[in-house]
C-alpha cells in the first residue's frame, strides 16, 4: 500500500513540476499592462460603437454599405499571415536560427506594409468621395477605430523591420534578444487580433 501511495505522490510531483516548467510568461509584466490596457480601451470603443449604432441603425447600415468588404478581407488575411510569420520568427530565434528568423520577420513586415497600403488607398478613396471623420457618427467610429488601429500598424511595421535587420546582423541571439522579440511579437499579435474584431464589427454585421 505504501508503495502505491509513494508511486502516486511521485507521479503527482512530476506532474506538478511539469506544469511549472511549462508555464512561461511571454514578454514581461509591463508590456502586458500596456497591451491589456490597450485592449480594454478598444473594447470600450467597440461597445460605444454598438451603443451609438442602435440610435441611428439605418444611417449606420447605409454608411456601412459604402465600405469595401473585399479590401477588408484581404487586410485580415494579410495580418493573419503576418502574425503567423512572427510566430515562426520567434520559434527560429529561440533555436538560434538568426537568418531564418530575420527572413520571417521581413515577410511579416511585408504583409504589414501591404495592409498599410491597402488601408491608405481605402482612406484616399473615401476622401475623394468627400467623406471624412465628421460626416456622420458611423464615420466618426470608422475613422477612429480603423485610424487608431492603422496608427498601431504604422508603428509596428518599422519595429518588425528593426527586428529583421538586427536578426540578420546578429551572430548570436541572447536571451535578452529573445525577450525583446517576444515583447514585439506580443504587440504585433495584439494589432492582428484587434483587426479580427474591427473588420466584422464595422464592415460585416448587418
Amino acid at each position: 500500500m505504501s508503495t502505491y501511495e509513494d508511486n502516486m505522490s511521485a507521479v503527482k510531483e512530476t506532474k506538478a513540476t511539469d506544469k511549472t516548467q511549462e508555464k512561461h510568461m511571454p514578454g514581461d509584466e509591463m508590456i502586458w499592462l500596456f497591451l491589456l490596457g490597450d485592449m480594454a480601451c478598444f473594447s470600450l470603443f467597440f461597445c460605444m460603437f454598438a451603443y451609438y449604432r442602435l440610435d441611428e441603425i439605418e444611417l449606420f447600415r447605409q454608411s456601412q454599405a459604402q465600405l469595401d468588404v473585399n479590401i477588408g478581407s484581404i487586410n485580415t488575411l494579410f495580418l493573419l499571415c503576418s502574425s503567423w510569420l512572427v510566430v515562426m520568427a520567434l520559434k527560429a530565434a529561440r533555436k538560434g536560427l538568426a537568418k531564418y528568423a530575420s527572413f520571417s520577420m521581413a515577410g511579416a513586415a511585408l504583409f504589414g506594409t501591404g495592409f498599410v497600403i491597402l488601408k491608405t488607398l481605402e482612406y484616399q478613396h473615401k476622401a475623394a468621395l468627400d467623406i471624412d471623420y465628421l460626416s456622420n457618427n458611423f464615420y466618426v467610429f470608422y475613422y477612429i477605430l480603423t485610424g487608431m488601429h492603422y496608427f498601431h500598424v504604422v508603428i509596428g511595421v518599422p519595429l518588425l523591420i528593426y527586428y529583421a535587420v538586427s536578426l540578420y546582423r546578429s551572430k548570436h541571439i541572447s536571451q535578452t534578444d529573445v525577450d525583446n522579440l517576444e515583447s514585439g511579437a506580443l504587440y504585433w499579435h495584439m494589432v492582428d487580433l484587434l483587426w479580427i474584431i474591427i473588420f466584422p464589427l464595422v464592415y460585416l454585421i448587418p
Binding site: A40, S43, T76, S83, W84, D192, I197
Partner: protein
Amino acid sequence: MLISIFSWVVGINHGMLFEKAFLESAAILILAFFKVRLVIMHFMEVGHAPTTLRLSCEAWVFVSCIGLIIMTGGQVQV
C-alpha cells in the same frame, strides 16, 4: 494545423444567412472572438502562461464578446 485554421477562418468570413439580423451579428461576433482567443492562446502563447495572465486574457475575451453582443442587441439602456 495553423494552415487549416487559416483557410477555415478566411472561408467563414463570407457569410452565412440567419433570418434575424441580431442572430447573424451575434454569430459573426462569436466567431470573431473565437479567432481572437486562438490568437491569444497560441500566437501569444498565453495558453502556457501563468494563471493570472491567462485568466485576465480569457476574462477580456469573454466580457468583450458578451458585452458587445448585448450592446448590439439593444438590451442595454445607458
